[in-house]
């Protein structure tokens, strides 16, 4: 065993260069990236100019463009199926990081830049939620497919969708140059935001209030070469962070990733770090930038077991209190939550204009006044909406309480195991760890533990 490890290290040493990737270059790159993506955002965003004051030119009537057509939708679904199949094949069968990376790049080009980030599985969550709660909403089949297919594949093969199909994951994977390991406690705590975001997104979409995920998609502006400046700046910051912290959006914000993590936990064939038996050399533990490799955990001693049981008991007692506390807090969130509703926003704008609290009008307020609509009727409707949000706030608060409680309880449960293994919830099957593992897969006859890992591809075996 020691000889194996030593040979691996020697093999590694041959690839070591005296001048490692310098900090100066790294920071210059990061700064450049931040500057340019931010610039790109503000500059290319669409503008409208007023029509000429007097001209013989007839002003064209505003027209809603027709959809891209069913053929494109079917094509998207077909490509999604192919991409998911390939991603699963590359992750589980060929165990090729290179192919996964190339596939993710292709997905970025197609689903991102060509199809401009829509439809996407993350956003489809909202359509499904709306379709469940609103009988009048007809959800396109392609959207259902985009929502269900990744879940189905995940249930069998783990999060291969995240690995190489999702354009949002791909763009972060592409800028991921020099990852640092994030402390596990950061992942445990910030990872909860995905669940909170999921709860909020479902509540707002189910009530037809807003599609939060689409509205606050940080990367769609890049795909479309223009968009809301604030969101583009947020996306730029995320990409900048992504240079050092692997996939920050996926880990700390993606609501669909939260759903996938549950399915992945029960996946039938999840990616393994060693293709056969783990030799617990520990070489892989630093390879994963997502903190998705679990180190071995020994069985608890009687003292540890006793302490653990006590801790678990306290947390089980606290859990309902946490849920109630957040539900109570949610009940008071009526105002802030309802402000997402467009009618509430319009009513506030109208009142502010009436009271002279704002000097500017909005298109919506001008249209409202020009159409001579009844402000009282609007306000009465807003009152109903706000009352509904009182209960939705309770639901969201309770959901947050449940999420936090479940997390606390799960942290208090010890799960002994002997190997280094992928954390099936958080592992996105990116394949970075394959190359670090010295255990041969038994299929390549020329490869023995003493020869160490093969030469990585320059483009794909990075950090």
């Amino acid at each position: 065993m020691k000889r194996l490890v030593r040979s691996v290290r020697e093999s590694w040493g041959r690839h070591t260069v005296a001048n490692p990737f310098g900090g100066r270059l790294r920071w210059s790159f990061a700064s450049l990236l931040a500057l340019l993506v931010g610039l790109h955002s503000s500059i290319v965003s669409g503008e409208l100019i007023p029509t000429p004051d007097f001209s013989s030119h007839s002003i064209p009537t505003t027209q809603v463009p027709s959809g891209s057509g069913l053929a494109w939708e079917y094509l998207d679904v077909a490509i999604l199926v192919v991409a998911l199949s390939l991603a699963s094949y590359f992750a589980l069968v060929t165990r090729s990081r290179r192919h996964l990376f190339l596939l993710s790049f292709a997905s970025l080009v197609w689903f991102g830049f060509v199809r401009q980030g829509c439809v996407c599985s993350i956003g489809a969550t909202q359509n499904v939620a709306l379709a469940i709660f609103d009988n009048g909403y007809v959800i396109p089949l392609s959207v259902v497919a985009f929502f269900l297919l990744p879940l189905l594949f995940t249930l069998f093969f783990g999060r291969t969708f995240c690995a190489a199909v999702c354009p949002l994951g791909a763009i972060q994977e592409f800028v991921s140059v020099k990852n640092v390991q994030v402390p596990r406690w950061v992942d445990h705590s910030l990872g909860l935001m995905t669940w909170i975001y999921l709860g909020a997104a479902v509540i707002f979409s189910a009530t037809g209030t807003a599609f939060l995920i689409c509205r606050y998609d940080p990367f769609v502006g890049f795909f479309r070469l223009g968009g809301n400046a604030n969101m583009m700046i947020a996306g730029g910051v995320l990409l900048l962070v992504g240079v050092f912290v692997g996939r920050p959006y996926c880990r700390y914000l993606c609501p669909y990733g939260a759903v996938l993590s549950v399915f992945s936990r029960f996946s039938r064939f999840h990616v393994r770090i060693p293709p056969t038996q783990c030799i617990t050399c520990g070489l892989c533990s630093e390879a994963c930038p997502y903190g998705a490799i679990e180190s071995p955990v020994s069985r608890a001693t009687p003292v540890e077991a006793s302490r653990g049981r006590r801790r678990l008991g306290y947390l089980l007692v606290a859990a309902p209190l946490i849920v109630v506390a957040f539900a109570g807090l949610g009940a008071m969130m009526r105002g802030p939550l309802s402000r997402m509703d467009p009618e509430v926003q319009l009513a506030e704008q109208l009142r502010m204009e009436t009271l002279g609290l704002t000097a500017t009008t909005t298109d919506a307020s001008e249209a409202f006044r020009n159409a001579r609509r009844d402000e009282r009727a609007l306000l009465e409707k807003v009152l109903v909406t706000q009352e509904r949000f009182r209960w939705l706030g309770v639901a969201l608060g309770a959901w947050i309480g449940v999420v936090i409680s479940v997390k606390l309880v799960s942290l208090a449960v010890r799960r002994p195991h002997a190997d280094y293994r992928a954390d099936t919830k958080n592992c996105v099957s990116c394949g970075r760890c394959f190359w670090y593992c010295p255990v041969p897969d038994g299929k390549a006859p020329g490869v023995t533990p003493t020869t160490g890992p093969t030469e990585p591809s320059q483009l794909v075996q990075i950090t």
Binding site: N19, H40, R184, M352, R414, L459
Partner: protein
Amino acid sequence: MSGREQPSFGSLMQNDRTWVRISSIAAVFSVVVAVAMLASFAGRVVDPSVTPEFVELKESLREASGDESVHAAIANQIRSLDVELRTEYFDRRAFMGAASWLLLGSLFVTIASAKVVANLRRQPPQLAEFESDVDDPDRIMSLQSLSAVGGFAVGVFLFSSWLIVSDRSVLPPDATHLAALFPESNDVAMVATRGLDVESEELEDAGATEPSMPDVEPAVVDPEVLPTLDEKRKFWTRFRGTDGMGVVESTSIPETWDGASGEGILWKTPVDLPGTNSPIVWGDRVFLSGATEERRTVSCFDAANGALVWQTDVPLPAPEDDGGEPVELTVNDDTGFAAPTMATDGVRVFAIFAHGDIVAMGFDGEIVWTRSFGTPHNPYGHASSLVTDEERVLIQLDQGEEDEPSSRLIALDGRTGETIWETSRDVPASWSTPLVIEYEGESQVITCANPWVITYRTSDGEEIWRCDALYQDVGPSPVMRDGVVYVCNEVPGGAAIRLGGSGDVTDTHIIWQVDFGAPDTTSPLLVDDMILMLASFGTLTSYDIGEGGDPVWEQDFDDGFKSSPTKIGDRVLLIGESGACWIVATTKEACETVSEADLGEKCVTSPAILDGRIYVRGEKHLFCIGES
């Protein structure tokens, strides 16, 4: 002979320096493209129609409306310019589109090359650095992670709480407030008496049963017809009552009350924004203003139960004045941003704030007009209350220093906010409220400041007479009876000035002057043939109204006072800063305390009295004291 061996393409690709160069070149190219885009972005024309050349041409076109040939020529010029500007605009868009793709491509090369560099320079894992969980079995379930999740939960909780606390909505919170915003008819009185579904948290009803409203005349409904002075006297339309004297002759009030226990308190309602102004009452509505540096409101309460009928935000002034200078407003904490008491003409209510902004609102809370007179140069903050006279709203806007006064007395049309007249005053900042009187068939307004007491005609703002009688910071307001005006200030004291003069009457019309016991804040009170002056330090001093001279008596009260004394029937009500209240009976012989009461919180405002009820604003609540 062998030449220098050329490196193969493959070895170049394995050389990290090659990729560093590629990455660097691509990065420089990206920056160049970005700078070009920035330059184009900075020079863009968002709205071609507002360019100076365009505006100038439009103006010329407007002026040339009579001459068809000139008109057509300018129109053609405008068309040409418009086409030019639009062409430039779309050229820029096209350039930006192309540059975006270039930027995207160069960024791609930059990042891809950087990734290759990272790969070639990658360090192998160091086993010595590895940490195994085997020796640290508590790691996964570590306290660190639990604490982090706990901290995250607290963070979410605090953030949500902050969202709740900082939520400022201008929308009506419930159907009641919505109904108040949109009366179903113009009859304000009808809206006022409609059953209000008062939320329990808004109403801290001290009594066991809902008190009934006293019989009051319905409020005036026609905005063009103002109530007469007699009609106004039935209510409390300004600071110290419609006559400004702080006197209610025929009514009785409870002898004691206790704000803490609720005894004798009909209701008390929280007042959210601070203010040192006093309530005014019209019909079954009580009005207050409140303000902080960030927010200003006028609130209307139901006199029957204290429910907030409406609250209207008054827009804050622009953070910069016309000259682009930031508006700086500092006020004394004792004065605050809403010190002047409101006034009503029976159709609208008027409020003025420390910024020098006045607002008029209908009884439904809708803003009718606003005027801004600029931030007064006042060391403590503007405090002079508004008064109305027929259609006029009078503002004593005293400001500036003795050697550089910039004071004005302004009469606005209460219906429109337009200035009816404005008179400059050669006095520095003061804090006194003017008094409108009728004298020999003429409406006059008496003002107090340092050093002049000046009387003006309310019809045109012409000065009638002035008297050198008061010095330093003048806060107390004047009172009048039988052709004599009584003024006072801590320095030099009190004075009685006979009306009827003209010009400077200092040497001819002063009847008497006294120099002891005069207040710096509270206003004097006329009771029978005495004038009572309540000093801030708690001494009530009585003088003979006809002679002045020495005090008839003095009585100490164990409190500080900023609330002016009020005569209610044959009693005098004094309210101390701590909230302690005294009901006293004053005769020529003595001042006897009849009863004592307690508001339960600090109070610096003067009460409004109507139909046996006392409406008074404490530090945090509006109280209604009376018998149910």
